[in-house]
Symmetry: C2
Subunit: 200 residues, 2 copies
């Protein structure tokens, strides 16, 4: 019976959207089953008819946010850019998305969500976007082909590490624009220094 399923998906969506809204405004620490229920227009206990527990609901939110992030970044894809510039833009916009939504970062990357439902694991990923770019950059001679994997891993780890420091170290109080500049410089450093020497 497919109608059943559609209706179920819709109600789930109410709860997910309610939870996302609360996370963005009140923060991950202040989300409660009761608040989600109220915002969604249901009793708090109804959540448990649709999600095993709060953690499961939060996991849905996390993957939803990841998709939102992808949508944000892909907005800045433009063929007018040279692929090195494009790579920098991807990284900067990715960083900005979470820098402007600290609570989303906390949910997606810092929260212990436990086992992830398989259905959620396969979605369009930014990692793929960067990989494609690195392949193109390699063709253009910005880096050696056998460095692609290493650079993908290195850039990914680095930008997440930076976000971790930027968002979880209230004392240090880093300036966003400065961090963005550092990101740009690092990427230029990584590509320039591994440029294929054509004259060899």
């Amino acid at each position: 019976m497919n109608k059943r399923n559609l209706q179920k998906q819709r109600i789930m969506r109410f709860f997910i959207d309610a939870a996302k809204e609360i996370i963005k405004t009140e923060g991950i620490k202040n989300i409660t089953a009761r608040r989600v229920g109220e915002t969604a227009g249901y009793s708090y206990a109804t959540i448990y008819n649709y999600f095993k527990d709060m953690n499961t609901l939060l996991t849905y939110c996390a993957f939803d946010f990841l998709e939102d992030c992808y949508e944000h970044v892909i907005t800045f894809k433009d063929d007018k850019w040279d692929c090195k510039e494009q790579l920098i833009i991807y990284n900067i916009e990715f960083f900005k998305y979470f820098a402007e939504n600290p609570e989303i970062f906390k949910l997606v990357y810092l929260e212990d969500l436990g086992k992830i439902p398989e259905e959620l694991s396969k979605r369009p990923s930014i990692s793929r976007l960067i990989l494609d770019n690195l392949n193109e950059s390699s063709k253009k001679g910005y880096l050696q082909k056998n460095s692609i994997d290493l650079l993908l891993e290195l850039m990914g780890a680095s930008i997440h590490g930076k976000l971790l420091f930027y968002l979880n170290r209230p004392n240090e109080n880093q300036d966003l624009d400065f961090v963005l500049q550092v990101i740009e410089k690092e990427i230029e450093f990584l590509l320039n220094n591994n440029e294929v020497k054509n004259y060899e």
Copy 2:
């Protein structure tokens, strides 16, 4: 009255050690005021005579663990190593410390500890250790002097990002030895590719 203070420090230590033990064994999610009190040999309410709240106690634990981590890493300092090898060893041992103690990583880097008491902010830091090494590596010609800051930042962000993925992605189930190899390769990549050309 200094005796008072000494006694106070001692009781605080009981609670801190109790909390650290619980975090290591039961995990950060399963620590409760009541358990800490019991393990320390006091009532749970006594904690509040020594710490403003649980978060403050956890913050003390976090900085204590950071010191333990430093102690662990410094163990592997040895003049027999070339400074590039030494740099790899520092990074690998740092990674291993948290890889073997996931709950410590969660507390130190992922937990939202709020404002950090000033007294805790100044401790021997691994970042300093790496910086010294990079300066030495630069003298030996493994990298250019004006790349030191960038590499320090890049390596630091990268290794924390890797830890984040390694410890918070139970589905992906990465192999520790493989990650350690990647770390080694990345450092070699970063130093080799920026070697100062002496013949220029």
